[in-house]
Protein backbone atom coordinates (compact mmCIF):
# COMPACT_ATOMS: atom_id res chain seq x y z
CA UNK A 1 0.00 0.00 0.00
CA UNK A 2 1.00 3.61 -0.42
CA UNK A 3 -0.01 6.47 1.84
CA UNK A 4 -0.81 9.86 0.34
CA UNK A 5 2.34 12.04 0.44
CA UNK A 6 2.44 14.03 3.67
CA UNK A 7 0.29 11.39 5.35
CA UNK A 8 -2.91 13.48 5.53
CA UNK A 9 -5.60 12.02 7.78
CA UNK A 10 -8.86 12.90 9.46
CA UNK A 11 -8.42 13.94 13.08
CA UNK A 12 -11.96 12.92 13.99
CA UNK A 13 -12.81 9.30 13.32
CA UNK A 14 -16.56 10.01 13.18
CA UNK A 15 -17.07 11.38 9.69
CA UNK A 16 -20.08 12.58 7.73
CA UNK A 17 -20.87 12.25 4.06
CA UNK A 18 -23.48 13.67 1.72
CA UNK A 19 -24.53 12.59 -1.75
CA UNK A 20 -25.01 15.91 -3.53
CA UNK A 21 -26.65 14.55 -6.67
CA UNK A 22 -27.49 11.24 -8.30
CA UNK A 23 -26.54 9.60 -11.56
CA UNK A 24 -29.53 8.83 -13.79
CA UNK A 25 -27.88 5.50 -14.65
CA UNK A 26 -29.15 3.80 -11.51
CA UNK A 27 -32.16 4.05 -9.17
CA UNK A 28 -31.38 6.37 -6.27
CA UNK A 29 -31.68 3.52 -3.80
CA UNK A 30 -28.96 1.63 -5.67
CA UNK A 31 -26.63 4.63 -5.53
CA UNK A 32 -27.32 5.02 -1.79
CA UNK A 33 -26.67 1.34 -1.31
CA UNK A 34 -23.40 1.35 -3.30
CA UNK A 35 -22.02 4.34 -1.40
CA UNK A 36 -23.14 3.04 2.00
CA UNK A 37 -21.56 -0.34 1.30
CA UNK A 38 -18.36 1.29 0.11
CA UNK A 39 -18.07 3.22 3.39
CA UNK A 40 -18.86 0.09 5.33
CA UNK A 41 -15.91 -1.75 3.81
CA UNK A 42 -13.58 0.79 5.38
CA UNK A 43 -15.44 1.16 8.70
CA UNK A 44 -15.41 -2.63 9.17
CA UNK A 45 -11.62 -2.69 9.40
CA UNK A 46 -10.82 0.60 11.17
CA UNK A 47 -12.05 2.84 13.99
CA UNK A 48 -13.77 5.10 11.43
CA UNK A 49 -17.54 5.64 11.35
CA UNK A 50 -19.54 7.31 8.60
CA UNK A 51 -22.88 9.05 8.98
CA UNK A 52 -24.96 10.14 6.03
CA UNK A 53 -26.29 13.71 6.15
CA UNK A 54 -28.79 15.26 3.76
CA UNK A 55 -27.92 18.94 3.84
CA UNK A 56 -25.06 21.32 4.49
CA UNK A 57 -21.35 20.62 4.33
CA UNK A 58 -20.24 17.08 5.12
CA UNK A 59 -16.67 15.91 5.50
CA UNK A 60 -16.96 13.86 2.32
CA UNK A 61 -19.14 15.34 -0.43
CA UNK A 62 -20.04 12.95 -3.22
CA UNK A 63 -21.15 14.08 -6.65
CA UNK A 64 -21.62 12.96 -10.24
CA UNK A 65 -20.14 15.49 -12.63
CA UNK A 66 -18.84 15.57 -16.17
CA UNK A 67 -16.12 17.37 -18.08
CA UNK A 68 -14.67 20.46 -16.45
CA UNK A 69 -16.30 20.66 -13.04
CA UNK A 70 -14.12 23.45 -11.67
CA UNK A 71 -11.66 21.56 -9.55
CA UNK A 72 -8.68 21.84 -11.92
CA UNK A 73 -9.05 18.20 -12.90
CA UNK A 74 -11.61 17.92 -15.70
CA UNK A 75 -13.05 14.56 -16.63
CA UNK A 76 -12.46 13.25 -20.11
CA UNK A 77 -15.72 11.81 -21.42
CA UNK A 78 -16.49 8.09 -21.57
CA UNK A 79 -13.70 5.69 -20.53
CA UNK A 80 -10.29 6.94 -19.39
CA UNK A 81 -10.70 8.60 -16.02
CA UNK A 82 -13.67 7.20 -14.16
CA UNK A 83 -13.55 9.14 -10.91
CA UNK A 84 -11.26 10.93 -8.51
CA UNK A 85 -11.15 11.92 -4.89
CA UNK A 86 -9.25 14.36 -2.71
CA UNK A 87 -7.12 13.62 0.31
CA UNK A 88 -8.45 14.30 3.84
CA UNK A 89 -8.82 17.97 4.63
CA UNK A 90 -11.28 20.86 4.87
CA UNK A 91 -13.36 22.13 1.93
CA UNK A 92 -12.83 19.97 -1.13
CA UNK A 93 -10.68 17.62 0.96
CA UNK A 94 -12.17 14.11 1.11
CA UNK A 95 -14.65 14.82 -1.69
CA UNK A 96 -15.26 12.16 -4.34
CA UNK A 97 -16.30 12.96 -7.91
CA UNK A 98 -17.67 10.37 -10.34
CA UNK A 99 -17.57 11.01 -14.08
CA UNK A 100 -21.18 11.24 -15.26
CA UNK A 101 -20.01 10.43 -18.78
CA UNK A 102 -19.49 6.85 -17.60
CA UNK A 103 -22.31 4.36 -17.38
CA UNK A 104 -22.62 3.38 -13.71
CA UNK A 105 -23.93 -0.08 -12.90
CA UNK A 106 -24.72 -2.33 -9.98
CA UNK A 107 -23.46 -5.47 -11.73
CA UNK A 108 -20.45 -6.84 -13.60
CA UNK A 109 -20.93 -4.47 -16.55
CA UNK A 110 -18.69 -1.44 -16.72
CA UNK A 111 -18.54 0.46 -14.45
CA UNK A 112 -19.64 -0.93 -11.11
CA UNK A 113 -20.33 2.06 -8.86
CA UNK A 114 -19.74 0.16 -5.61
CA UNK A 115 -16.31 -0.94 -6.84
CA UNK A 116 -15.24 2.53 -7.94
CA UNK A 117 -16.68 4.21 -4.82
CA UNK A 118 -14.81 1.81 -2.55
CA UNK A 119 -11.57 2.80 -4.28
CA UNK A 120 -12.25 6.56 -4.23
CA UNK A 121 -13.17 6.54 -0.55
CA UNK A 122 -9.79 4.99 0.13
CA UNK A 123 -8.31 8.23 -1.29
CA UNK A 124 -10.78 10.28 0.78
CA UNK A 125 -9.34 8.59 3.86
CA UNK A 126 -5.67 9.12 2.99
CA UNK A 127 -4.59 6.16 0.87
CA UNK A 128 -2.82 6.56 -2.44
CA UNK A 129 -2.54 3.98 -5.23
CA UNK A 130 -1.25 0.54 -4.35
CA UNK A 131 0.99 -1.57 -6.57
CA UNK A 132 -0.86 -4.71 -5.44
CA UNK A 133 -3.16 -5.73 -8.29
CA UNK A 134 -5.41 -7.49 -5.80
CA UNK A 135 -5.93 -4.33 -3.75
CA UNK A 136 -8.94 -2.05 -4.11
CA UNK A 137 -6.44 0.80 -4.20
CA UNK A 138 -4.83 -0.45 -7.41
CA UNK A 139 -5.38 2.44 -9.84
CA UNK A 140 -6.95 0.56 -12.76
CA UNK A 141 -10.55 -0.62 -12.89
CA UNK A 142 -10.83 -4.36 -12.35
CA UNK A 143 -14.09 -5.93 -11.26
CA UNK A 144 -13.86 -9.54 -10.19
CA UNK A 145 -17.49 -10.07 -9.24
CA UNK A 146 -17.14 -9.15 -5.61
CA UNK A 147 -15.83 -6.06 -3.86
CA UNK A 148 -13.64 -6.67 -0.87
CA UNK A 149 -10.67 -5.09 0.84
CA UNK A 150 -7.50 -7.06 0.39
CA UNK A 151 -5.04 -7.47 3.21
CA UNK A 152 -2.99 -4.73 1.55
CA UNK A 153 -5.91 -2.26 1.82
CA UNK A 154 -6.55 -3.24 5.44
CA UNK A 155 -2.89 -2.83 6.35
CA UNK A 156 -2.93 0.58 4.65
CA UNK A 157 -5.97 2.02 6.40
CA UNK A 158 -4.84 0.61 9.75
CA UNK A 159 -1.42 2.21 9.26
CA UNK A 160 -3.26 5.56 9.28
CA UNK A 161 -6.06 5.08 11.79
CA UNK A 162 -5.06 2.04 13.83
CA UNK A 163 -6.81 -1.30 14.17
CA UNK A 164 -10.51 -1.99 14.28
CA UNK A 165 -12.13 -1.85 17.74
CA UNK A 166 -13.60 -5.25 16.92
CA UNK A 167 -12.00 -7.87 19.24
CA UNK A 168 -11.55 -10.16 16.24
CA UNK A 169 -9.27 -8.31 13.87
CA UNK A 170 -10.52 -8.46 10.28
CA UNK A 171 -8.24 -9.88 7.65
CA UNK A 172 -8.42 -9.82 3.88
CA UNK A 173 -7.29 -11.97 0.99
CA UNK A 174 -3.64 -11.86 0.02
CA UNK A 175 -2.61 -11.56 -3.58
CA UNK A 176 -0.53 -14.60 -4.59
CA UNK A 177 3.18 -13.96 -4.97
CA UNK A 178 4.43 -16.01 -7.89
CA UNK A 179 7.81 -16.62 -6.27
CA UNK A 180 6.44 -17.45 -2.83
CA UNK A 181 7.89 -20.82 -1.75
CA UNK A 182 4.58 -21.60 -0.07
CA UNK A 183 2.48 -20.97 -3.18
CA UNK A 184 -0.11 -23.64 -3.92
CA UNK A 185 -2.68 -23.84 -6.72
CA UNK A 186 -6.41 -24.50 -6.95
CA UNK A 187 -6.20 -25.70 -10.55
CA UNK A 188 -3.80 -25.78 -13.50
CA UNK A 189 -4.54 -26.39 -17.16
CA UNK A 190 -3.14 -25.93 -20.61
CA UNK A 191 -5.00 -23.40 -22.74
CA UNK A 192 -4.17 -23.21 -26.42
CA UNK A 193 -0.55 -24.12 -25.87
CA UNK A 194 -0.01 -22.09 -22.70
CA UNK A 195 -0.22 -23.22 -19.10
CA UNK A 196 -2.46 -21.26 -16.73
CA UNK A 197 -2.42 -21.57 -12.97
CA UNK A 198 -5.43 -20.62 -10.83
CA UNK A 199 -5.47 -19.46 -7.23
CA UNK A 200 -8.40 -17.75 -5.45
CA UNK A 201 -9.47 -14.83 -7.69
CA UNK A 202 -6.33 -14.92 -9.81
CA UNK A 203 -4.69 -16.65 -12.71
CA UNK A 204 -0.96 -16.81 -13.32
CA UNK A 205 0.47 -17.33 -16.77
CA UNK A 206 4.08 -17.92 -17.68
CA UNK A 207 4.82 -17.17 -21.30
CA UNK A 208 8.24 -17.42 -22.85
CA UNK A 209 7.61 -14.20 -24.81
CA UNK A 210 7.35 -12.14 -21.62
CA UNK A 211 9.94 -11.95 -18.88
CA UNK A 212 7.38 -11.50 -16.09
CA UNK A 213 4.71 -13.95 -15.00
CA UNK A 214 1.32 -12.43 -15.77
CA UNK A 215 -0.91 -12.28 -12.70
CA UNK A 216 -4.43 -10.97 -13.04
CA UNK A 217 -8.01 -11.65 -12.12
CA UNK A 218 -9.74 -14.71 -13.59
CA UNK A 219 -12.63 -12.36 -14.40
CA UNK A 220 -10.46 -10.52 -16.94
CA UNK A 221 -10.83 -13.51 -19.28
CA UNK A 222 -13.89 -15.26 -17.88
CA UNK A 223 -16.24 -12.85 -16.08
CA UNK A 224 -18.83 -15.61 -15.66
CA UNK A 225 -16.57 -17.88 -13.63
CA UNK A 226 -16.65 -17.96 -9.83
CA UNK A 227 -13.51 -17.42 -7.79
CA UNK A 228 -11.80 -20.33 -6.09
CA UNK A 229 -11.97 -22.84 -8.93
CA UNK A 230 -11.24 -26.42 -7.92
CA UNK A 231 -10.21 -28.08 -11.17
CA UNK A 232 -9.73 -27.30 -14.85
CA UNK A 233 -8.77 -29.18 -17.97
CA UNK A 234 -8.51 -28.68 -21.71
CA UNK A 235 -9.92 -30.94 -24.41
CA UNK A 236 -7.45 -30.01 -27.11
CA UNK A 237 -9.36 -31.66 -29.98
CA UNK A 238 -12.43 -29.58 -29.26
CA UNK A 239 -10.52 -26.41 -28.30
CA UNK A 240 -12.49 -26.47 -25.08
CA UNK A 241 -11.57 -25.63 -21.50
CA UNK A 242 -13.67 -26.85 -18.59
CA UNK A 243 -13.59 -25.29 -15.15
CA UNK A 244 -14.98 -26.97 -12.03
CA UNK A 245 -16.30 -25.72 -8.73
CA UNK A 246 -18.54 -27.76 -6.45
CA UNK A 247 -20.96 -29.83 -8.52
CA UNK A 248 -20.94 -27.35 -11.41
CA UNK A 249 -18.68 -26.92 -14.40
CA UNK A 250 -18.34 -24.28 -17.11
CA UNK A 251 -17.06 -24.84 -20.66
CA UNK A 252 -15.35 -22.21 -22.82
CA UNK A 253 -13.78 -21.86 -26.20
CA UNK A 254 -11.14 -19.24 -25.54
CA UNK A 255 -12.96 -16.50 -23.67
CA UNK A 256 -16.41 -17.45 -24.96
CA UNK A 257 -18.64 -19.46 -22.63
CA UNK A 258 -20.44 -22.24 -24.45
CA UNK A 259 -24.21 -22.29 -24.46
CA UNK A 260 -26.04 -23.94 -21.59
CA UNK A 261 -23.38 -23.69 -18.91
CA UNK A 262 -22.84 -24.11 -16.03
CA UNK A 263 -23.84 -27.76 -16.06
CA UNK A 264 -23.95 -30.41 -13.40
CA UNK A 265 -21.00 -32.83 -13.07
CA UNK A 266 -23.20 -35.73 -12.02
CA UNK A 267 -25.53 -35.58 -15.01
CA UNK A 268 -22.84 -34.73 -17.58
CA UNK A 269 -20.08 -37.14 -16.64
CA UNK A 270 -21.88 -39.77 -14.59
CA UNK A 271 -19.91 -38.94 -11.47
CA UNK A 272 -21.81 -40.31 -8.41
CA UNK A 273 -23.87 -37.80 -6.46
CA UNK A 274 -21.85 -38.63 -3.35
CA UNK A 275 -19.00 -36.68 -4.96
CA UNK A 276 -19.45 -33.05 -4.01
CA UNK A 277 -16.51 -31.61 -5.94
CA UNK A 278 -13.54 -32.50 -8.13
CA UNK A 279 -10.03 -31.94 -6.75
CA UNK A 280 -8.23 -32.02 -10.09
CA UNK A 281 -8.76 -33.08 -13.69
CA UNK A 282 -6.68 -33.67 -16.79
CA UNK A 283 -7.48 -34.94 -20.25
CA UNK A 284 -4.86 -37.04 -22.01
CA UNK A 285 -4.83 -35.59 -25.50
CA UNK A 286 -3.33 -38.78 -26.94
CA UNK A 287 -6.08 -41.10 -25.72
CA UNK A 288 -9.08 -38.81 -25.20
CA UNK A 289 -9.34 -40.09 -21.63
CA UNK A 290 -10.08 -37.59 -18.90
CA UNK A 291 -9.07 -38.30 -15.33
CA UNK A 292 -11.09 -36.86 -12.45
CA UNK A 293 -9.32 -36.94 -9.09
CA UNK A 294 -11.47 -36.92 -5.96
CA UNK A 295 -9.79 -37.47 -2.57
CA UNK A 296 -7.98 -40.87 -2.74
CA UNK A 297 -9.79 -42.07 -5.88
CA UNK A 298 -10.00 -41.25 -9.54
CA UNK A 299 -12.51 -41.79 -12.34
CA UNK A 300 -11.77 -42.06 -16.06
CA UNK A 301 -14.04 -40.54 -18.66
CA UNK A 302 -13.91 -41.14 -22.41
CA UNK A 303 -14.26 -37.87 -24.31
CA UNK A 304 -15.03 -39.66 -27.59
CA UNK A 305 -17.72 -41.97 -26.23
CA UNK A 306 -18.81 -39.28 -23.78
CA UNK A 307 -19.23 -41.81 -21.02
CA UNK A 308 -17.42 -42.92 -17.90
CA UNK A 309 -15.19 -45.96 -18.36
CA UNK A 310 -16.25 -49.09 -16.49
CA UNK A 311 -14.37 -50.25 -13.42
CA UNK A 312 -13.91 -46.87 -11.81
CA UNK A 313 -13.27 -45.33 -9.35
CA UNK A 314 -9.83 -46.70 -8.66
CA UNK A 315 -7.27 -45.73 -6.05
CA UNK A 316 -4.84 -43.00 -7.09
CA UNK A 317 -2.07 -44.78 -5.19
CA UNK A 318 -2.50 -47.95 -7.30
CA UNK A 319 -2.23 -46.38 -10.76
CA UNK A 320 -0.20 -43.26 -10.01
CA UNK A 321 2.35 -44.67 -7.57
CA UNK A 322 3.97 -42.04 -5.38
CA UNK A 323 1.38 -39.38 -6.09
CA UNK A 324 -0.34 -39.83 -2.76
CA UNK A 325 -3.87 -39.42 -1.59
CA UNK A 326 -5.11 -36.04 -2.66
CA UNK A 327 -4.22 -33.96 -5.68
CA UNK A 328 -4.64 -30.16 -5.86
CA UNK A 329 -4.17 -29.81 -9.60
CA UNK A 330 -2.82 -31.64 -12.63
CA UNK A 331 -2.11 -30.86 -16.27
CA UNK A 332 -0.53 -32.62 -19.23
CA UNK A 333 2.35 -31.29 -21.31
CA UNK A 334 4.49 -33.14 -23.86
CA UNK A 335 2.98 -36.44 -22.81
CA UNK A 336 3.77 -36.05 -19.12
CA UNK A 337 1.37 -35.38 -16.27
CA UNK A 338 2.36 -32.70 -13.77
CA UNK A 339 0.70 -33.27 -10.40
CA UNK A 340 0.47 -30.53 -7.76
CA UNK A 341 0.21 -31.47 -4.08
CA UNK A 342 0.62 -28.47 -1.80
CA UNK A 343 3.94 -26.83 -2.54
CA UNK A 344 5.24 -29.92 -4.39
CA UNK A 345 4.99 -30.82 -8.05
CA UNK A 346 5.60 -34.26 -9.55
CA UNK A 347 6.42 -34.91 -13.19
CA UNK A 348 4.81 -38.26 -13.96
CA UNK A 349 5.15 -40.51 -17.00
CA UNK A 350 1.75 -42.14 -17.57
CA UNK A 351 3.30 -44.76 -19.87
CA UNK A 352 5.79 -46.14 -17.35
CA UNK A 353 3.73 -45.06 -14.32
CA UNK A 354 6.81 -43.54 -12.74
CA UNK A 355 7.57 -40.20 -11.16
CA UNK A 356 10.38 -38.57 -13.12
CA UNK A 357 11.10 -35.54 -10.95
CA UNK A 358 9.98 -33.55 -7.92
CA UNK A 359 9.96 -29.75 -8.03
CA UNK A 360 8.43 -26.77 -6.25
CA UNK A 361 4.85 -26.06 -7.35
CA UNK A 362 5.88 -22.69 -8.81
CA UNK A 363 8.82 -24.05 -10.83
CA UNK A 364 7.23 -22.76 -14.07
CA UNK A 365 7.67 -19.17 -12.94
CA UNK A 366 11.49 -19.05 -13.26
CA UNK A 367 11.92 -17.61 -9.79
Amino acid sequence: FVLTPGNPQWKDTNLTYRIENYTPDLPRADVDHAIENAFQLWSNVSPLTFTKVFEGQADIMISFVRGDHHDNSPFDGPGGNLAHAFQPGPGIGGDAHFDEDERWTNNYLEYNLYRVAAHELGHSLGLSHSTDIGALMYPNYIFSGDVQLSQDDISGIQAIYGPSPNPIQPTGPQTPQTCDNKLTFDAVTTIRGEVMFFKDRFYMRANSFYPEVELNFISVFWPHLPNGLQAAYEVVDRDEIRFFKGNKYWAFQGMKMLHGYPKNIHRSFGIPTTVKSIDAAVSDENTGKTYFFVAKKYWRYDEYKQSMDAGYPKMIADDFPGIGNKVDAVFQKDGFFYFFLGTRQYKFDPKTKRILSLQKANSWFKC
Partner: protein
Protein backbone atom coordinates in the same frame (compact mmCIF):
# COMPACT_ATOMS: atom_id res chain seq x y z
CA UNK B 1 1.89 -9.45 -36.56
CA UNK B 2 1.26 -6.56 -38.95
CA UNK B 3 3.33 -3.46 -38.38
CA UNK B 4 1.49 -0.60 -36.78
CA UNK B 5 0.56 2.15 -39.19
CA UNK B 6 2.13 5.55 -38.69
CA UNK B 7 -1.30 6.87 -37.71
CA UNK B 8 -1.56 4.30 -34.92
CA UNK B 9 1.95 5.13 -33.80
CA UNK B 10 1.10 8.81 -33.61
CA UNK B 11 -2.04 8.05 -31.63
CA UNK B 12 -0.03 5.88 -29.25
CA UNK B 13 2.58 8.59 -28.79
CA UNK B 14 -0.13 11.10 -28.01
CA UNK B 15 -1.67 8.71 -25.54
CA UNK B 16 1.65 8.07 -23.81
CA UNK B 17 2.31 11.80 -23.57
CA UNK B 18 -1.16 12.50 -22.15
CA UNK B 19 -0.98 9.58 -19.73
CA UNK B 20 2.36 10.67 -18.33
CA UNK B 21 1.16 14.26 -18.05
CA UNK B 22 -1.99 13.18 -16.23
CA UNK B 23 -0.59 10.62 -13.87
CA UNK B 24 3.15 11.16 -13.65
CA UNK B 25 3.32 14.94 -13.60
CA UNK B 26 5.18 15.10 -16.91
CA UNK B 27 5.55 18.74 -17.86
CA UNK B 28 4.21 19.33 -21.34
CA UNK B 29 6.03 21.65 -23.69
CA UNK B 30 3.49 21.04 -26.43
CA UNK B 31 5.78 18.71 -28.38
CA UNK B 32 5.14 15.06 -29.08
CA UNK B 33 7.47 12.47 -27.66
CA UNK B 34 10.64 12.39 -29.70
CA UNK B 35 11.32 9.04 -31.28
CA UNK B 36 14.51 7.10 -30.54
CA UNK B 37 14.91 9.01 -27.37
CA UNK B 38 16.58 6.92 -24.70
CA UNK B 39 16.87 9.39 -21.86
CA UNK B 40 15.07 12.41 -20.55
CA UNK B 41 11.87 12.97 -18.60
CA UNK B 42 9.58 10.87 -20.79
CA UNK B 43 11.77 7.81 -20.44
CA UNK B 44 12.15 8.36 -16.71
CA UNK B 45 8.40 8.73 -16.23
CA UNK B 46 7.75 5.67 -18.39
CA UNK B 47 10.18 3.69 -16.24
CA UNK B 48 8.37 4.86 -13.09
CA UNK B 49 5.06 3.78 -14.57
CA UNK B 50 6.40 0.38 -15.66
CA UNK B 51 7.97 -0.26 -12.28
CA UNK B 52 4.74 0.65 -10.50
CA UNK B 53 2.67 -1.79 -12.55
CA UNK B 54 5.22 -4.58 -12.35
CA UNK B 55 5.96 -4.43 -16.08
CA UNK B 56 9.38 -4.93 -17.59
CA UNK B 57 11.17 -1.60 -17.04
CA UNK B 58 12.34 -0.60 -20.51
CA UNK B 59 11.54 3.09 -20.64
CA UNK B 60 9.85 2.35 -23.97
CA UNK B 61 6.15 2.38 -24.76
CA UNK B 62 6.01 -1.32 -25.67
CA UNK B 63 2.75 -3.18 -26.30
CA UNK B 64 2.30 -4.26 -22.70
CA UNK B 65 2.83 -0.71 -21.45
CA UNK B 66 0.40 0.70 -24.00
CA UNK B 67 -2.22 -1.87 -23.04
CA UNK B 68 -1.87 -0.95 -19.37
CA UNK B 69 -2.22 2.74 -20.22
CA UNK B 70 -5.42 2.03 -22.14
CA UNK B 71 -7.14 0.46 -19.14
CA UNK B 72 -9.75 2.72 -17.50
CA UNK B 73 -8.56 4.00 -14.14
CA UNK B 74 -8.94 6.34 -11.25
CA UNK B 75 -8.07 9.96 -11.98
CA UNK B 76 -5.17 11.60 -10.27
CA UNK B 77 -6.15 14.58 -8.13
CA UNK B 78 -5.70 12.65 -4.95
CA UNK B 79 -3.75 15.56 -3.53
CA UNK B 80 -5.68 18.70 -2.77
CA UNK B 81 -3.56 21.80 -3.10
Amino acid sequence: FPAATSETQEQDEEMVQKYLENYYNLKSDGKQIERRRNSGPVVEKLKQMQEFFGLEVTGKPDAETLNKMKEPRCGVPDVAQ
